[in-house]
Symmetry: D2
Subunit: 367 residues, 4 copies
């Protein structure tokens, strides 16, 4: 099935199925000397952990990460870091019905068409469980960034849930961690809660838009043609389950602007560095970071597992119907927030290393 | 600067600056035995060739492609195909002013921040000239696809120019080649002509949205996690100059839908193959093609080179102003249509080869 | 530290240190539908397991492999196969002395010079323990090959131990598994036993040459220039610890031959396939397999850990002396035999997939 | 056919057939700011240029290299450097006979078995002509190394021609450029001249061993497992036409040594850097450079094109005979010397960039 790896110098390979014994990430290319322990990664894993509130799947997973290699005496050695998360809650019985039928909107049918074999227990590799491994790997990237670029920050939040979009005028970063939707607006959080609750009770689901912002990163990250930073970020975000659209800065809306409205003017900052009068570019020009805030958005489609009867076919090609029971999220977009942050961290670290070199310039003194 | 290559088994490396002696593409991994001659590639190059009408830059380039290797007796040999396009029109004098100043919205400043050196003659690698090489390479991919999948078709068209969007109800594929905007609606073509003409005269510019559709491709293309077909297409489109957003199927709008509205129901076609009641997924589920029409959209920002005075800085860090003269497109989105088609062709061929193998199963009989 | 992965479509990433909690291999790109269970891999692991006789390190490791992912109902699913081997015997106290001193001939000093940090417990990643993961991954490759090419065989054996070389006239494949050296000659096995026993008692060590042969593989594997099959095999074997030379067919001796003596003449076999009068080429012409036996040899240097006092320096740059105690092999070449076989299996499968495609042409029938 | 690229950050893709209009190399990843002009590359190309003396093929090629991109105002810009060499002497008539018959020892038959199509005019991609492109690319690497590591030096020479080997005691580097064999011993040069002359007249050919030495390179180059510096060098050398064996330091002979004899002792140099009492390791320990001289050797098999009648088959599978006329080298090993140097330069630069980063830390000051 291959293509389970992303990154150039900082390479992450995720492995494991939602209902196998374990899943995890093999993280290769982390610079040596970065302080790292499991608790640092657990912090981020806990953010996406399911079953924390009524808005996420009631499947309960401890999602405890173990570091099996690459760390010695509390620091990374530069060797591969193996992160393992045991699957503890594997109620396969939930999935009996879908062993024979293809769930509309799910990868079931396309996997079958490609491989002629599939792990029907919760979708195998296509399960959102895979993103737990990304979050763990992203935690490693965050620690490496912390060591290389003190002050750099990556933060994700929801800007839309179904028909509800945030009001940029009320954007309050301090509110992000105060609600289950990571929405930067206390009032919106309340409205969204009622909205999603109704959807959940009706057995329906809805999509979302997540925005991830990165500040404190240097100018010069990215490569001009096929390694554009926006290309890399688009690929990273589009690789997340259920994502169907990605935008950098103005994104799709850039199509409606004139050159005057879109091009960010340049002036000199007091620190002798160039500044921009606006950030329609999302911090990236010609594929290379300018030192401004890097802004990426992505759309997550609504969960396809719903309680409404849907037309489908079975393995024998007979037309039939299906209702997807089991434990699912009314809005998978919620748990996509920490995943988007993790992907942003991995991509940015990768490009920092491409510029600085793999060893981060570390050299061992003799004597 | 690296990252000038894309693709896994079908690998394209573009090279050359807008004002150097030549530019082109090194195409590696094309299967052997594909009928190929320069005229087949020229057909597609002519579609994006500038100076064809008042809506594209008046810079005149013959854009004649030469095949320097990889073809013997009218067929590809499986060896690298070197495609060279000589630059014939290099009025560097046009660019005198920008040698000292950074153009807002352009890659000038980010390149300088990264490399400390740049080819100011038209932006070097960041010039839209680079896309000529993509179109030539895409032509090779199209011929290989023609040989492997007779009947498969790739077609691009504009769905939005600035504030004007097409009316899907009036979609007429037959009209695409009848107007300078490749818009599938004769009436829209007229309206857009007036709209862009006004913008052009005022020295302004505007963005656009291009949609590329692929039909006749098999189910099973793509890989589940980091090689999702939508990931690959997003990266390919986002790597095109000035693109700031990419959508697959419903794209960003998927965020506003419910699971009932978004998931495409499945039934059996008369040919015993699965069919879908709709195509919100854009022909891709879980990263793998379903055999439906594959639909990608991308937004191109407005040309940053405009006749309005803009604030900027110069190489010495002094604040100053700039007006970008020179010959430019009021809507670069127009010429992005054949480029998007080319990228689609390269990505799909690459994944066909990943499934079928590099030699396409060709084996030489002895006797 | 990166570069812990090898292969193109069949990709193996090894991870883990000799004295960490575990080590293993992440195997990506195995075709779906291959029958696989841990016992099949254990068979090969047991061949290289230390402590089996007095000629290999007395360190005792169970080397029991667990399959954590990628297998469902006894068959590979095409998803990443995670192989984990717990480290059970970690007597770190053995290594106290070398925490401060660099062992001559070991990677200690070069790692320190590069990374400025190292896991001194048995060399971390540079320990021969890493090869256990290769053997496990090679076992997966062997099963995939068995499924794709029934009858294909890969076999390794020693052709030289120190000053003793085998007599090709007495080559007896049946003897390979009957002695601790995997030498294809019963008489040689006895002589070598005495020879190595003496070296072991004197606390010395010696090098070896291993030959790996592959039969039953098709013509056409490999690529002409930088993916020559001999290039790929050379890289694979040279990546094994302590290997300093690699040969294909005649190898270095080809330099002494004339064109008449070296070029293998061609004739037709009864099966209508081309045959060769000899195999100086080692089964590879122009980087591509010819269908003949593929023959690779590699030289393993003597273990650098010996009981003789050696001059060296410590972390502070002081000149000092060292005697490497701990448990070591008098001839690491012995355990390199199954490792060479594993690398051969991985490289050949990778190139079979490059030709056949990743899914091996598998397609799921509907109905 | 793919696999026409080598390198990680410094990537070289060669293209072109021996009898097409041109061949060349696309060099991607060269740092910006390196002084470069065609004459610098021509210097190295002239070293391998055929027809210079009676010991190399009388085919006359100007081998003039053109730089088509990547250089502006005499310096590299960091963009892809396209190097083109026109084929001027294409006497295809020479090759009439081999269009129907497979030459023993050549890639003819294996290519046919793989691709079912081939360019019989001089072997297409398998022609030694391809190495001209490597030498040109190596010239770029040499200039980048000169800029990054003043004083570093790469030098190749022959140590064996057929049955004649050099006497290390008489090694005189000053003699290398004084004879057509690049042998570091004036007396040997005379003997070899007579020896090869006789072989040439008899229409025979012979193999050779080339040694390439690199001095002035830092400790820390290479990666511990699959990116070992010796692995990378082995792959690079084995990818050269007709090479069948590669050795690092002691090479195959290491198998005959004891641990005492093989492990290089360590002491402190006056400059406070570690030194070694010997260099059996060839300057690489555990895959990482130690700062010592890096020593690689490779064996080139004898030219398979000889004037003796050989048994073979034709395209129809009929057994027949062939005499290879045309213009060939009695010892292709001679022209492999500059090719080996070029590969060494490319590999070392690549690993320098992996450590230092792609932009070499260059940052553009504003103001």
């Amino acid at each position: 099935m291959s293509f389970n790896t992303f990154g150039h110098l900082f390479r992450v390979t995720t492995w494991g199925e939602s209902h196998g014994p374990a899943l995890g990430a093999t993280v290769d290319g982390c610079p040596p000397g970065v302080p790292l322990e499991a608790s640092m990664l657990q912090h981020w894993l806990d953010r996406r952990k399911p079953g924390q509130n009524k808005y996420t799947t009631q499947r309960r997973e401890a999602d405890e990460v173990e570091i099996l290699s690459g760390v010695f005496e509390g620091k990374t050695t530069g060797t591969p870091i193996q992160l393992m998360i045991r699957n503890t809650d594997q109620r396969s019985k939930d999935y009996g019905d879908i062993a024979q039928k293809f769930r509309p909107g799910h990868a079931d049918i396309s996997y079958w068409q490609k491989y002629g074999i599939r792990d029907y227990r919760g979708g195998g590799r296509s399960s959102a469980r895979e993103t737990a491994a990304r979050v763990a790997a992203g935690g490693v990237a965050r620690e490496a960034i912390r060591a290389l670029l003190p002050g750099a920050e990556i933060r994700g939040y929801m800007t839309r849930m179904g028909t509800h979009e945030i009001d940029r005028a009320k954007f309050d970063a301090a509110e992000i961690d105060n609600n289950p939707f990571w929405v930067p607006d206390a009032t919106a959080a309340e409205t969204w809660a009622g909205y999603l609750d109704a959807l959940r009770k009706s057995g329906s689901s809805v999509g979302a838009v997540i925005e991830v912002s990165a500040t404190g990163f240097p100018a010069g990250l990215g490569a001009p043609v096929y390694g554009k930073l926006d290309t890399e970020l688009a690929a990273a975000m589009m690789s997340i389950n259920a994502v169907k659209g990605v935008e950098i800065g103005e994104g799709m809306a850039a199509a409606e602007l004139t050159g005057e409205a879109n091009a960010d003017e340049i002036y000199m900052g007091n620190d002798g560095q160039p500044r921009f009068s606006s950030n329609h570019a999302g911090g990236i020009l010609g594929g290379i970071s300018t030192g401004q805030e890097i802004v990426v958005r992505f759309a997550v489609k609504p969960t396809s597992s719903i309680l409404t009867t849907r037309k489908t076919i079975d393995l024998d090609g007979n037309e039939t119907e299906i209702i997807t029971k089991g434990r699912h999220d009314p809005c998978v977009g919620i748990r996509a927030v920490p995943v988007g942050e993790a992907m942003m961290a991995c991509v940015l670290l990768d490009h920092i290393l491409l510029d600085r070199g793999q060893t981060g310039g570390v050299r061992g003194p003799i004597g």
